[in-house]
């Protein structure tokens, strides 16, 4: 009995350490992406210049990575387990809605910048992945709302869709990480070319390069901590009489 209690307390302590790490890494991602674009890239505006483009990485990292990841681990917080699930579902959906809006604004920032400067849209692999990620995220959110929040959706449908929702959530998060990494890498090759703006080339590893590369490392670290929290069975919200799932989560959002 005492051993079981100790194991449970140890598991909970470990969860909160992981959760604290997740929150800290998320905040660091936001600080790094904002500082990079405000300090080295000239700050923010919505005027068709490069300062409009600067919203793109900030909004995508905030929406598609940090908010998305935090919304996904929400149900894992033991504090929420004893309570009615509906408010947490609403918070999960609201955080993801905010994440979606920020992602769409992030796309508007880059399309607007491209259009104002005669740069074609959607040609790089980064842009292909990014647009697919946002499209899948939109579909996932709309389907999630219809299936898990509308009172009229049948329980059988929820049971059928949950493994798909869980699995797609993880797949979209992995796509987000790959999109962000390729985007940061591409941006640094664009701006640190040693020819314009008096910058030292990327290959010299100036301070901006080390800083923005570190942002990429932080995004990966955040993503792996999120996936680690989601993959630990002991940290899943206990569901009374829940059926056996055939699909294990990459990211697990309870229905």
């Amino acid at each position: 009995m005492a051993t079981e209690w100790l194991v449970r307390m140890g598991s909970m302590l470990l969860f909160y350490v992981s959760y604290l790490l997740c929150v800290c890494l998320g905040v660091l991602c936001l600080v790094f992406v904002s500082y990079w674009n405000s300090t080295w890239r000239g700050g923010f505006a919505w005027d068709g210049t490069a300062r409009q483009f600067n919203w793109h990485p900030v909004l995508m990292v905030t929406g598609l990575v940090v908010l998305y990841g935090n919304a996904a681990v929400l149900y894992r917080v033991p504090l929420t387990w004893g309570q009615n699930k509906l408010p947490w579902k609403l918070l999960h959906a609201s955080l993801l809605f905010l994440a979606l809006i920020l992602s769409i604004l992030g796309l508007c920032a880059v399309f607007g910048f491209h259009n104002a400067n005669g740069v074609p849209n959607l040609y790089s692999l980064h842009s292909w992945l990014g647009i697919v990620t946002t499209a899948l995220f939109t579909a996932q959110w709309a389907l999630g709302l219809a299936a898990f929040l509308l009172p009229c959706s049948p329980v059988a449908l929820r049971g059928l869709l949950k493994p798909v929702h869980v699995w797609m959530g993880g797949a979209i998060f992995i796509l987000s990480m790959a999109s962000c990494i390729s985007g940061i890498n591409e941006k640094l090759f664009f701006v640190l070319n040693g020819n314009t703006n008096g910058t030292r080339p990327y290959s010299d590893l100036p301070a901006e390069a080390v800083f923005a590369n570190s942002l990429g490392v932080l995004i990966i670290a955040f993503g792996l901590v999120v996936l680690q929290i989601l993959s630990n069975k002991r940290w899943q919200r206990p569901e009374p009489g829940c059926e056996e799932e055939t699909s294990r989560p990459l990211l697990d959002e309870d229905s």
Copy 2:
């Protein structure tokens, strides 16, 4: 009884469809990466020129993605379940050893090319991720060999390390995908700059750009099919008297 049999057969049929898709996508990745580098990038050599560099994407995609992914899903093939596990463990370890060797050769190709042409090593985010991925893969393989194949390793240690091995396997695979995507994106910006070699710029989406972007999409599709196969609980090798696992797999390699 008949229903249970039908469900099991349906699940097995679905597995083989997914497995066939996994094999086909893997082969397509190999064909695409080889064709891209032989047709548009001038083919292969080991002479310090760009033709030496061309081995880099071919070897990394072959080793870190296709062979690695196929080695990971090996235990899921129902054909292997009724048999002694040791030969399949040896095949799993051998495939991953081959994957590791190809990855290291892939790194030698790019380091040799850089050194012969006075290009600095390890400055881009792509290179940072790639080197960390290969280092983690090396540690994972060595630890996996020591823990799960050396007869002297205690069963308790195997039980302790299995969730770590399973989880790290998945994390490394995700890192591999992110490394490959950022690498393909970077290479296309390098070579399709519209200034040298008479190429049309990347932003014009010439045939090479569409083809290599499609390679990136194929890598992501292959990766997601591999992760889907690994996440389905029904497709896991049944282990007699296996203990409850606390860590759910991103990639699941049985101990």
